[in-house]
Symmetry: C2
Subunit: 312 residues, 2 copies
């Protein structure tokens, strides 16, 4: 109990967040109205926040202007900026600065920042300079930057030494990490090295939620949070209970059903199915919609795993 209290005190951001799916219309344009409605539903399910413009959001298939417009609509619709952790990391320094500045000025609780991911085999020094340049240019003490480590997709990531340089140079500003490496050993190493100083470490999947929390991490930012938010959040709130292991096992069964398919199209297909709104299935290329016959098999798998989706 004492540890939990300490955690509550030192952590500014903790819990379960969803990298929100981005709905598109038939012309592949982002649908801001459906986006805002989905965001509000997710928050109504208990999620701590919304990591809009993440990988699951197909944010890297959106222009800077499209992200800006969606954020404006979302804030205009009444979603509190304190619930938002937008993704702002682009290949181009100037784009990252522009999106980060806008998020900070809007009062967002933080930003989740990919490293510049086009050039490969770059050095820690080069990445340090990239992040340093963004922080200095934004030049705002309200900035809370979360490092987005997703080497399976970005192919550029954060070494422990790089994280150490960044938190040392920018304490408080470099506030945490989302670890989507899929390697819990890496997550634990980051937690062990930095969590004691208030660095908030999120796992990139609820599969690691219990291990993350027991080790002293801050929670998870997870794609399946888009469709299974309440159950994932329940484990977060009850991770010390005797039922936690069972809850984790049930979450894993649901997750596995998604991971057997291309996850983003599968999530959109399930949201389309349960919301009876087929337009949710649309993805931007290079992704492809889940074929209709696979959607049926996925829904079957989910029902066997005890999945329920209660859309208001």
């Amino acid at each position: 109990m004492e540890r939990a209290q300490t955690t509550t005190i030192r952590q500014r951001l903790s819990g379960v967040l969803a990298p929100v799916l981005t709905p598109f219309d038939a012309k592949l344009q982002p649908d801001a109205g459906r986006f805002a409605r989905h965001c509000k539903w997710l928050l109504s399910q208990g999620l701590r926040g919304l990591a809009v413009f993440g990988t699951t959001s197909e944010a890297n298939s959106l222009s800077v202007e499209e992200r800006e417009a969606l954020l404006e609509t979302l804030l205009g619709s009444g979603v509190a900026p304190g619930a938002l952790l937008p993704g702002t990391g682009c290949c181009a320094l100037t784009d990252t600065v522009r999106l980060t500045r806008a998020a900070v000025r809007a009062g967002c609780t933080g930003v989740l920042v990919l490293p510049p991911f086009y050039y490969k085999a770059v050095t820690d020094e080069g990445l340090f300079r990239a992040f340093s340049e963004v922080i200095e240019r934004v030049g705002d003490s309200r900035l809370r930057m979360y490092l987005y480590h997703i080497p399976p997709i970005a192919h550029v990531g954060f070494s422990l030494k790089l994280v150490e340089r960044l938190v040392t140079a920018y304490p408080g500003t470099v506030a945490g990490m989302k670890d989507s490496s899929g390697d819990i050993a890496n997550t634990k190493a980051v937690i062990d090295a930095f969590a004691k100083d208030g660095f908030e470490v999120f796992s990139g999947s609820e599969k690691f939620l219990l291990e993350n929390l027991r080790r002293g991490g801050a929670g998870c930012i997870t794609a399946t949070g888009n469709v299974n938010p309440a159950a994932i959040d329940r484990l977060y709130r009850n991770f010390g209970s005797p039922e936690a292991e069972g809850m984790q096992a049930r979450l894993n069964a649901v997750r596995n059903a998604f991971e057997k398919r291309p996850v983003i199209p599968a999530l959109k297909a399930v949201l389309a199915h349960f919301s009876r709104d087929a337009s949710w299935r649309t993805v931007r290329p290079p992704l492809l919609e889940l074929p209709a016959n696979e959607t049926g098999a996925l829904v079957d798998d989910l029902q066997k795993a005890g999945f329920e989706m209660q859309l208001s």
Copy 2:
């Protein structure tokens, strides 16, 4: 001889092009004036064209607006659009459409298009749709699209089947490829499959120039064209001569000196050295400038390889 004549007739674009280095000022902003001067010097050395906004150009570290402004300055400075093959491929569909449309409207001879490169393990069908969507949205019969295949960096590339689908669906519009796979066997396979129909295949390095041309390819688009344009162009113009093998060997020796270092910073360091303009050394993060002591060693290596740089 008959083959060479056929080649001349059917190829719209052939020769040596440089992916032009982008100069930055001390604030890491693109320097349009120096950029235009470098472009004009390259053309004065005999190059067929300028593949501005390529990998070597650090174009993926530039925003869409920065690329647009540089292109406008370049055209305003009197460089003919027929010499330009700008890179326009971004992660976001809408960015690629915007840059491609602008290039076509400006009269550029073509565009060199990366696949959307954030999402990995995407399908040929997804990539086909991505390119199809760009072509349909641009909707301009003047569009000549060159596919930019650079799997070592983009980690997303073009299979032969994908190229076949694209050239079949958009004959004349999907006009060629730059193959930066580093795998001459792949280049030969693409040439063998598609060159007979007028598909123009460029190697991504002058190391493969002679093999490319002998097989029926269109030339090369090469980073070292920024500093060694005349010698590379000489091999292109004389690839049937008895001296061609010797010329290729000398080009390779120069290329090897660069490839022992991070190529983009090394090219900028050499250009800074010979132009006596240290500001050329500047790169945007995540790249790093070549350390001063390494520049000296590189210049030594280049001189041993018989390299000369004659800046007007």
